[in-house]
Subunit: 472 residues, 2 copies
């Protein structure tokens, strides 16, 4: 890091907040996130995506009045006298199948009809075949029930009328919505683009999972857990790999992530002498919004934004003055660099990716992602519900901590006499990935609290909704 | 259909149950479903899949005792006298970074250490840098707190010991599990194969969504909604398209689906004259287990299995005697046909796909799938939780029906004063797809009940867990 780069860091850190509360951190990151622009995708591939524009019906469903049952179409008036012990016989004048065309119905006449078939002109009711007796010898049908006008009939437009806004913007496309698109003849859907998330790790000790982990080296697992978290949230992860612990290597990898919508690094954001991430980000023109959230695990998390074109400031200090902090407005007006052009699809008004520098401990990284990155990804994807399902659970054991940080306690949930009971998964160390694999949820141990007594209630963010399922 | 085919139908229907209750139908279909065999997939692509075999650790995590903080490694005994106002100064003998190697620590000496770095021989505690003052002039560090042995240290194997079964068979691979696989150097995972589901529709009136829907033709939307439901349940849909309403066309398409794990048709399973699905299935050697479930929507659903090699009986009657019903054991011993070999990956003991013939009305098809097909797909995929999350909700309005069928009522949910309140989405017609797109869940209106008064409670299967999310 040159003197020029260091100067940028100082400038950028001027407005940075430190040691903020969990809810303030969430508000801060969501304030910078907006739904991404629309893209057209094939409707069948749009499951879980969110409509960026409403869908109006080009056709009426059903297109014409039709039968809701297999049976006989008739005039309700012809059955006025029918009832138990008072059967009426009608001549069966024809048959109409789904997709077929029906001849008009004369008074005193019925038509054999099948589910979905268009109602013959003159008919205003259907009697299900279970309530009718076909008399083969005479070509008649014998019916001993009355049928009110409209019985077992689907009116034209009963489901949808041409011109109706059938699916609103913001609707999540589940199976019902995808079926509706198909029924309307829509094979494409305009949905919010999926956020692209560039992931990188930093550390001289790290090797990839297929690498040689002998000699005290540590497998870099964070990018893999975080990529899975991205996918769960509907985002597209891009794994940039491992940066070595020096400013040049780190800057090169960060720069490669500038075209993404989010840039998420793990490790290198503590206050240790080897933590190069924050200065490298600042040198690229990233304004740090906050560093440090009063939570455990996951205190040393940094969040930053690009007010100007990203990459305008380089790690060797060139153009550093033009990019960050207070001078951002001027930089934003400059001709975009190649990097900025690539990032043009980011949130409105934003010139580069949102940046999260997460801690290196596996559980800290995952929990930080869960609390701050996931809600941002969901909002970018157009979703309205940004939280996990949250339940109130009873403490199955007393939990204690010191005041000053909110704790996310990994818990297992069980049903005991109608109540949902939460117990710690064991080792709550921020390095204990195994206890993360056992967790059904994260229990919120509030910042000011020092004890949650056994039997008391607490909120639990559900990572796995299994506790709400019923046994088969 | 020839006389031979019709004979098969009669044989197969002998053991068939009709008009069974919802819970009996679910038990029947699950009795025929088993987790599919394992396949190896890349760990990063295994999100949401279920482990078919346990994963044992080949290495210990952390591999060696290491620091949990940035700070100073030292001997706890050297701080025995330290405390507020009683600072101890230790000579800083060196520095050890993550991935580095540490020189042994002499008594009275400390080493600068970073998170994840291996503990120097002799050190048994770490003091965080926030609690230490580096004295640059003397090369010492000044500390005014005591540190118990083990403070801020991660013991070797604290997370995982080599040989431990870390992830059990049956574990669902979420982000934590995928991170753990990476940390263990495992880049592949043995997971239950995804069920393949062949989907087909039948009806002369149907056109595909990109087709010409004029002249009373109806767009075939079911396969698209059901394909989305398959994907939600982790299955692979295969859309075979639309069969016309004649036995030969239907049989040809059903035959094309015999290599799948499930064969799911919609329409053509009522008792109308145009319903060819059941006889065609029987002619292919499918034994119908039940037809008709006492629910609404979705009464006319059929479920069948192949006791012998599928397709041994053909639609022209050849070999029909060898396949269905009571003679299944003999047929199972025969040399497998080409179709049977293709279906060899199906559930243990099963010679062909499980077959669901669902109603043709869009909501009936979706709700039937939800209640009967989805649990089967989840079990085949190795999942243990086979139901949706189920909540108790308060009725926001009185619902009425006649006794005799369980109703699945499409409802919207809202929070009102801490309670979750359910109200009908409106038109509950089995053709009203729009009201399905508005549904947060399906409220269970029990078979025997005729009224659910406003203010009473009922179970709701959650299609969308949004009601449990917290506002951002």
């Amino acid at each position: 890091m040159t003197a020029g780069g260091a100067g940028v860091t100082v400038t950028a850190m001027r407005a940075m907040r430190t040691g903020i509360a969990a809810d303030e951190a969430l508000r801060s990151v969501l304030a910078e996130a907006a739904p991404l622009p629309a893209e057209l995708v094939e409707a069948g591939a749009a499951l879980g995506r969110v409509l960026a524009a409403p869908v109006a019906a080009r056709r009426t469903l059903p297109p014409a009045g039709c039968s809701a049952m297999d049976g006989y179409a008739l005039r309700a008036a012809d059955l006025a006298e029918a009832g138990p012990g008072r059967a009426v016989c009608l001549r069966v004048g024809g048959e109409v199948a789904a997709g077929g065309r029906a001849a008009p119905l004369a008074p005193g006449e019925a038509a054999r009809i099948f589910t979905g078939a268009p109602l013959p002109q003159g008919a205003d009711a259907v009697v299900p075949q279970e309530q009718a007796e076909a008399l083969a010898a005479t070509g008649e049908v014998r019916i001993a029930v009355a049928a009110p006008p409209g019985a077992h009939i689907r009116r034209a437009g009963e489901d949808v009328r041409a011109g109706d806004e059938v699916l609103p913007a913001g609707a999540r496309l589940g199976p019902g919505q995808i079926g509706m698109l198909a029924a309307l003849g829509r094979t494409l859907a305009a949905v919010h683009r999926r956020p692209r998330v560039a992931l990188l790790s930093s550390g001289d000790e790290l090797v990839e999972p297929d690498g040689d982990a002998s000699g005290g080296r540590i497998v870099s697992s964070n990018a893999y857990a975080l990529a899975a978290q991205c996918r769960e949230a509907g985002a597209l992860p891009i794994n940039l790999g491992i940066a070595r612990d020096n400013p040049a290597a780190l800057t090169a990898l960060l720069r490669a992530g500038l075209e993404a919508d989010l840039l998420v690094s793990t490790a290198g954001v503590s206050v240790g002498d080897h933590d190069h991430v924050r200065p490298a980000l600042a040198a690229l023109g990233c304004r740090l919004v906050f560093w440090g959230v009063r939570v455990k695990p996951g205190y040393p998390v940094a969040f930053g934004v690009f007010d100007g074109a990203p990459g305008a400031a380089s790690s060797d200090g060139a153009a550093a003055d033009g990019a960050p902090g207070d001078t951002g407005a001027a930089a934003a007006g400059a001709a975009p660099s190649v990097d900025a052009a690539g990032a043009a699809g980011a949130a409105p008004g934003r010139r580069g990716p949102l940046v999260f520098a997460l801690p290196g401990n596996p559980v800290s990284a995952m929990v930080s992602f869960e609390q701050l990155v996931r809600p941002v990804l969901l909002r970018m994807g157009g979703h309205r519900n940004l939280s996990r399902p949250v339940l109130r659970a009873e403490l199955g054991e007393t939990l204690r901590k010191s005041a000053g940080r909110l704790h996310y306690v990994r818990v297992q949930l069980s049903r005991e006499g109608g109540r949902i009971v939460a117990r710690s998964t064991g080792n709550q160390s921020s390095g204990a990935l195994h206890s993360m694999t056992l967790a059904d949820g994260l229990l919120i141990f509030p910042e000011a609290a020092t004890e949650l007594p056994k039997g008391s209630e607490a909120r639990v963010q559900l990572l796995d909704p299994g506790i709400l399922c019923e046994p088969a």
